[in-house]
Symmetry: C2
């Protein structure tokens, strides 16, 4: 990494840190951020860790008009002996490059980006909360900044990493949520941007989410945009069902996000020799399984919640109650084992966890 | 409008204006911009015309991560006697509010926004180019600025209007373009955001456009995302065909943008008593019309080009040559009449054109 110098300009003042038990998700940010600039023909330049501050972007920049942007989300934990741990961060950098390809945005050097992330975490290490269930949420993202209103890929970009200490997703212990099956709105369709982690997919989902909120549901279950019958995702998570002893999750079909938690859960389930399949699964099939008593569990998976058990699905006013509305055995085991590995409490037979060592920052300053 | 004071802070320096014959589209911006801020519970505040300058936005703002943004595009022309003319601007403000509803963004006061637009144009009036075919492109847009990483509608927004003098779309006269029919990528699907003028739709289209460019085509023809056979739009324009004496354009189906040029063209065609229908039209139908010799014309419509004749469609390597690759009679007439009305050269029997009077700015300063 000697060819990758990162300039560090430390903040002159330090912000007050929130108390661990008052932490929410994504509202408070640390003292510093990482920024690099891209110019077509020149590549990525001016890699720097600077005080967290507003971005200055031309009002005609592509990001404001044509939505050229991709992002990632992952977490750092304080493990045993104060070690700082990351969970499969190289998967995030790889996926960011896949997303960028779909959006005609430049590739990042995955190793350099990971190094930048580690250095930034080291600079703001004291922001990592230590209470059980808390973590430091990491948001790498790229935005197109060229001031040009023509509809074409931009020639200027910023790659940025910001950090946010976040509270436990389950303040009162892991518990199941109620989900509304969405019949009108569509999140994404094959040929669109559904597999990319890009802004437009999330903007498209807001309206349905707002309606679900009003009806007292936590999230929506997205059906496919073509036949409106096959299950895609739940909210901004991947989704799993356990039916008659077999775990089923929708196959990657060109409109579903390739979740890193999804991938890890599949690896865990296969490691445990539980039957599992990635295939098309319709909402009718889930309903029929419920009626015949073979629907055992349902849960969403993602970085924020890790595993989110589903207690009820409302499909055209038919209520599908899952496992008496309680957290299933497998859901709980997956949550415990995955968070255990992430925080270093449990052994990691897969090599998923990376330690952030102090040496990184020493190199850069 | 006495209840709508706009603060004006004029730029201390004036930028050099580009020569009329060197104008491109959307690269140069005028000396000023309009900005207003929205806070949930408070509404729109601090309406101001200020020097054109970078926006300062928190790196965690919703716009950078979840794409909550809508925009509009229209043009101002210098007409006879130096009058400043706008074409159906109230339609843009109406559509912006429709788009905002889909994206869970706040409504603007359409009359106030139009007044702000007129005042801004008056302040930067000397930026309106006068050469034939040139105009002042107007870009109103709204972005979500709340620094929060939760996936939910933001509580803070900015409404901004920027202005850009633009050159003639047809520097060497109106001429037909070559279009590639897109079979892999999809622009939008019913239930998605296709009818809204929002960033994600444009981001989704970049990849296909880039591939078409490389193959020597100007734009792509989008097919529907469900059956992949019905015609939706061409590039970022609506599309029309003239088959056996009848004009046909895809009906508004929940994924097509309600173009204001599209609407005006339909009104003109009906005014002229030419047979016209808004209905589903498949690419097979266009191909069959071509084979049987009844495909007379094809053209795209939008604010930038007004009317863009199509000379060739490439569908799975079958070339559909339209009107010997020349501009059709109806395409030319529509272009001439519409641009004639827009610039005040021709009579406006529809009441489409609005004059920007000087009184507006006097009120505000």
């Amino acid at each position: 990494m000697t060819n990758y110098p990162i300039q560090v300009r430390l903040s002159e003042t330090k912000k007050q840190k929130p108390l661990s038990d008052q932490l929410e998700f994504g509202r408070v940010f640390t003292d510093h951020m990482f920024v690099a600039d891209y110019f077509e023909g020149e590549g990525w330049v001016d890699h720097r860790i600077v005080p967290y501050e507003p971005l200055q972007i031309d009002p005609a920049a592509t990001i404001f008009h044509y939505g050229q942007t991709v992002f990632e989300g992952l977490k750092a934990y304080i493990g045993k002996d104060g070690k700082v741990l990351l969970f499969r961060p190289e998967e995030n950098m790889l996926r960011m490059n896949k997303s960028s390809e779909r959006l005609c945005m430049p590739q990042i050097d995955e190793e350099n980006a990971l190094e930048a992330l580690k250095q930034l975490i080291t600079v703001d290490k004291e922001w990592i909360p230590t209470t059980e269930g808390t973590s430091l949420y990491i948001r790498p993202f790229m935005v197109a900044t060229e001031p040009y209103l023509g509809v074409s890929p931009a020639k200027k970009y910023k790659f940025i990493i910001i950090l946010s200490p976040v509270g436990s997703y389950y303040k009162e212990g892991i518990h199941p949520v109620k989900i509304l099956v969405e019949n009108e709105y569509v999140r994404a369709v094959a040929g669109g941007t559904g597999t990319a982690k890009t802004a437009g997919n999330y903007a498209a989902g807001l309206r349905a989410q707002e309606i679900a909120d009003r009806k007292g549901y936590s999230q929506v279950l997205w059906l496919d945009g073509v036949e409106r019958k096959y299950i895609e995702e739940v909210g901004s998570m991947n989704v799993f069902f356990k039916i008659n002893g077999e775990v089923v999750t929708p196959m990657l079909n060109g409109s579903i996000l390739e979740g890193i938690t999804r991938k890890s859960i599949l690896e865990l389930i296969r490691y445990w020799d539980i039957p599992v399949s990635e295939r098309r699964i319709s909402i009718e099939e889930v309903y029929e399984a419920h009626r015949s008593g073979t629907l055992e569990e349902a849960f969403g998976t993602g970085t924020a919640a890790v595993v989110s058990p589903i207690g009820e699905l409302n499909w055209r006013d038919e209520k599908i109650i899952v496992n008496n509305g309680e957290t299933g055995e497998l859901s709980k085991k997956l949550y415990d084992v995955l968070t255990g590995i992430q925080t270093g409490e449990l052994e990691d037979p897969f090599g998923w966890v990376t330690e952030v060592t102090e040496t990184a920052v020493v190199k850069s300053v």
